[in-house]
Symmetry: none
Subunit: 222 residues, 4 copies
Amino acid sequence: MAKKTGKQATAPRWRRRKDERGPEILAAAIDVFAARGFAAARLDEVAARAGVTKGTLYLYFENKEALFKAIVHEQLLPRLAEADERARGYTGPATVLLLEVIKTIADAVIGTRLGLIPKLVIADAGNFPELARFYVDEVIARGMGVFSRILERGVAQGEFRKIDLAVAAPVCIGPLLLLAIWKNVLEPHAKRKIDKDQYIAAYTDIVLRGLLAPGVEMPWKA
Amino acid sequence: MAKKTGKQATAPRWRRRKDERGPEILAAAIDVFAARGFAAARLDEVAARAGVTKGTLYLYFENKEALFKAIVHEQLLPRLAEADERARGYTGPATVLLLEVIKTIADAVIGTRLGLIPKLVIADAGNFPELARFYVDEVIARGMGVFSRILERGVAQGEFRKIDLAVAAPVCIGPLLLLAIWKNVLEPHAKRKIDKDQYIAAYTDIVLRGLLAPGVEMPWKA
Amino acid sequence: MAKKTGKQATAPRWRRRKDERGPEILAAAIDVFAARGFAAARLDEVAARAGVTKGTLYLYFENKEALFKAIVHEQLLPRLAEADERARGYTGPATVLLLEVIKTIADAVIGTRLGLIPKLVIADAGNFPELARFYVDEVIARGMGVFSRILERGVAQGEFRKIDLAVAAPVCIGPLLLLAIWKNVLEPHAKRKIDKDQYIAAYTDIVLRGLLAPGVEMPWKA
Amino acid sequence: MAKKTGKQATAPRWRRRKDERGPEILAAAIDVFAARGFAAARLDEVAARAGVTKGTLYLYFENKEALFKAIVHEQLLPRLAEADERARGYTGPATVLLLEVIKTIADAVIGTRLGLIPKLVIADAGNFPELARFYVDEVIARGMGVFSRILERGVAQGEFRKIDLAVAAPVCIGPLLLLAIWKNVLEPHAKRKIDKDQYIAAYTDIVLRGLLAPGVEMPWKA
DNA sequence: CATGAATGAGTGTTCATTCAT
DNA sequence: TATGAATGAACACTCATTCAT
């Protein structure tokens, strides 16, 4: 008992509120899941990183899978919903909105550990089908919807050409996915770095120009 | 690691030692790794699928990691090299070459089990850094190079606008990555399907149009 | 065990320390122990059923084992003592007394949760030897004594044949044990049901007739 | 690796046949299950007692439950079937057959570790319903059948009184159950011992006499 | 070469017990 | 006195790896 060394012997076993533990565990779990993938993530490590013992995890989450779902539900979905909200309320030109959404997502994807979630799902979809289904239904569908609606409005307003709306959204999202994976997964192992702003500039330059109807100006030149 | 004694230290660890069973094992391993990911792949299953026993695997590959590297080395890299070769030898318009390369990759990515390798690396990069480094250096660098050279030539020949060549390649590859992941990983769990040809059409339509210099025609209209 | 310091070493470990919550906890514990067995009984469930928290249990009982002993001491032994008392005070024919005792026990064994205690001891005797010894000494010996004395008197009064008194008591108790176990443990999982009254009738018919001395009438025919 | 101390370093890891391991594991499992009950039995202990490691168990049995079922199927049921066979083929007086069956069972129940199986089922029926159902259907039903048929024939042949055949079998079995439990579970913890032959003598004396039709002699007097 | 029996370290999950509040 | 958050040891089961045959 009390084998943890390097801590003051007087440290109380718990003084923190139940309300604080949950988020702390969640934060630790994001790190570990992101770094290791769902299957390889060890709850021991999550616990250690959260400063608790393994048993404590089960006071807050029913099991490993519930822990993962909680990450998506409490961290990822709210941001998505927020982005969706803003997009739906927006009344200006679709081009400007698209730019803004892309930049917002790019920041979220790179600046926060949440950018690792897509990788996580990709990694473990094969072995945890329910998890994959959950992610596809909850996250992908929503995210695709945001882009679809913007593109749709752009076409309706004459800003965009009459593109194939059924597949244009994923095409536009592709470079974002690559950015997320590169920045979060591969770049740490690579010699070459990619500058985010430079990448976003090229990305929006190419894609927007590919979408615009003839005669419509690029938004930043307006 | 590398506990086997009495072997030349210079022998690369990923190389198989025999010629007969090796390819069969490799083929089986691709299937299993692709379906399950690196960590979750069970050597039992690889052995069963290859029609040998688990013990036999170790006659051909030092361990699980060596088996994976062999896949990349013997299956993925040759195709990449081949594509690179063709691109370098091509002398026509960059637009046409770009279109062809994209279609070739799209077919490979969807039709063959190799399309799952990127997912696999993405999934396990965190747990096997050496594997990630190996993949980034050997595969990504080469693949990016193919695109870069095409774009570069397109700009030089006046077909493409003066885009930022440092980041344009990954931007163009993004939708391909998304296609690979969607088709191989997520679509089985989704209600909505994406039609490959439709997707490729929209993808090339948007991206090519975004790249073309003013006044240049889209290649399929020529 | 017995890590609590500062307590009289002479205080029996099974005794509860307070008077208010104790009985409620005990009642809850009987239910849970009976339903799950000693090892599988979760103190969480006992606490919940008693309307207290797990921590509170430890204010009243040193540990799980002490809780179990308390059940036997405070619930089972008093009833046994009572039955013994009655048997000792009885002056009529042994046949009638035997019948009455059997019926009383049968009712207790089936109608109340205490009928599950024998099963419980049987189940966990191997893992908790002290518990078994305690049960054999305190419960079995007393129960056997009740039967022994009745049989003894029946023989002395000429009602019963000169049976082997050393082993006749357990023989007579056997069908009761089977009834207790069948009704409490196995019947819920069986297709076939046993009617208690029918069983008791056959049991007393066979056993009593097997005991009676030649020429003595069965009591209910008198 | 090879941390097992106290073994000859030259001891081969396995020289025994697969055919021998199964029974050895089964024998070990009977001991452990019998001593501890199903839930409390640790597979570590089974493995140790069988002289293998835990992992090896899973080469022979799918899981703990399968291990238990195998005991019943391969050890208990064959003996029951054999007894049933003999009983069905028997043509002499029911009294003699009943005596013989009782003695056979008594010997099996006491002399072998199988006598502990009933206790085991009793103990864990509540927590492992499927296990209980399996036992009730496979074992109890068969065992009860043997007794029922004998009694039935005894009544038909005029040897026994017209007893209630629906419940007479369990009544007759009761003392056997008690014997099994006493000898295997409780006697090790008791001061008083029960002599098996003495017990059987009293048991058959009382029960048979209780069954016999008026005027029929006890078999051992014939 | 090939086999397949055996290993044993590793991980998710449970639960009796403790103890700061 | 009571709480309930936290602990940590325990255990079933998996699977990469080894090695006698």
